[in-house]
Symmetry: C2
Subunit: 262 residues, 2 copies
Amino acid sequence: MTEIITGKDNPLIKRITKLMSSAKARREEGCFVCEGIRLCMDALYSGAEILCFCCTENAYNKYQEDAGRLEKAAKRSTLISPALFSRISDTRTPQGFLCIAAVRENIPEIKKGGCYVGLERIQDPSNLGTILRTAEALGAQGVILSGDCCDIYSPKVVRGSMGAVFRLPVLIVDDFTEYIADAGKNGIKTYASTPRDARSIAEADLSAGGIMLIGNEGNGLDDDTINACTMRVMIPMKGRAESLNASAAASILMYELMKAQP
Amino acid sequence: MTEIITGKDNPLIKRITKLMSSAKARREEGCFVCEGIRLCMDALYSGAEILCFCCTENAYNKYQEDAGRLEKAAKRSTLISPALFSRISDTRTPQGFLCIAAVRENIPEIKKGGCYVGLERIQDPSNLGTILRTAEALGAQGVILSGDCCDIYSPKVVRGSMGAVFRLPVLIVDDFTEYIADAGKNGIKTYASTPRDARSIAEADLSAGGIMLIGNEGNGLDDDTINACTMRVMIPMKGRAESLNASAAASILMYELMKAQP
């Protein structure tokens, strides 16, 4: 790499900034930014198409082997001055590594006996990232998101997911309630997490697998979605009747679903 | 309230800024800042001593009832200009409410049959806040923190805990490993979460209660601490062998501990 970009008005820099801040830009371009060595290598090893690799000269020299691999895989590679990198970075102490990766279509095949997570209007990128990471670690076969969840390719979600966004099959549906109702009609179990008229997740029969649904941080699942589900479940809470954080609740619910599988 | 503070060099403003950014200042003064209406009211209703209440004039008029209660309870109350409030606020869209609350000594009594969480060198304030919130919701009787965990009174932890810091008994110990070893000698069960030589948390006998231990985000528990525990447990993971986020793991581990209680 001989080219060094130093100016903030460079078209590539503008593109990166746009891709980091705008879900619309990511959707239109079909790509997103991964920052940090770990995420860049994760993208590469997960088979993501690397459209562009950028790093600082220092980082290039310090992590030669990884930089070399990314440079080889990327359609375009360039150096960026440290000052400019700090400016566009989403982190406080940037490592000086980023890439633009192409979104890959990877839709879960929803089938009986499989385990999935359904997320309705999750708004907090940290929650979404953690839920994706947990879903992958526990072995869920895919995630179904309502169209109004926050964008899974925002820098915070990508980072929080620890790369699960590269690998976990994800389906985004606009009419979430209808999708869940249809799944139920097709014999897929659907579990609404709600404190109302629900059975304890510790006692529910989850052995058939299905879709575990988690709702918005403030309001939970929509009533229509709850009514469309085949079962209602709740986490038994012995303490203060204050709801759990969405990602903490999701962890427990997914864990019980996975544990019930043979 | 007639006084309005507008200058950033005002001693109270400097004190608030210091208390928000410095764990040392919080320790020395024995107090911390709670921002937002919900947290301020939570502090009040949880019986915390309110040393100072500050709000913008707008917020005072908009939330008269709550403001009135805080004003009555607080040793000192003052208005702050909106521009100054934005400057000191830890959030992007400040509500214009904050208070300084006194730290209250509230140490858990560790006894047989009780359920507790032990945290060793947790570094991320969001993780710590979520773990405290989850511990309270699930009904843990207290938390034991190693002295090198991040400060529980930092704004991020206080916010993430949803006020659990006001109510949950917390003990901070400098020699964490020794404390855990002593607890074990005194007949308290201590569970080390570690992937090595551990039994599945789903199959472990947790009915005696005890202390569930969770370690640092990157490195887990210290070997010495693991060796000091009476049992090793792990979360069964069917997916990618990538560890769970510390707060996700803590949620599942605490949930299983609480579920096993009669």
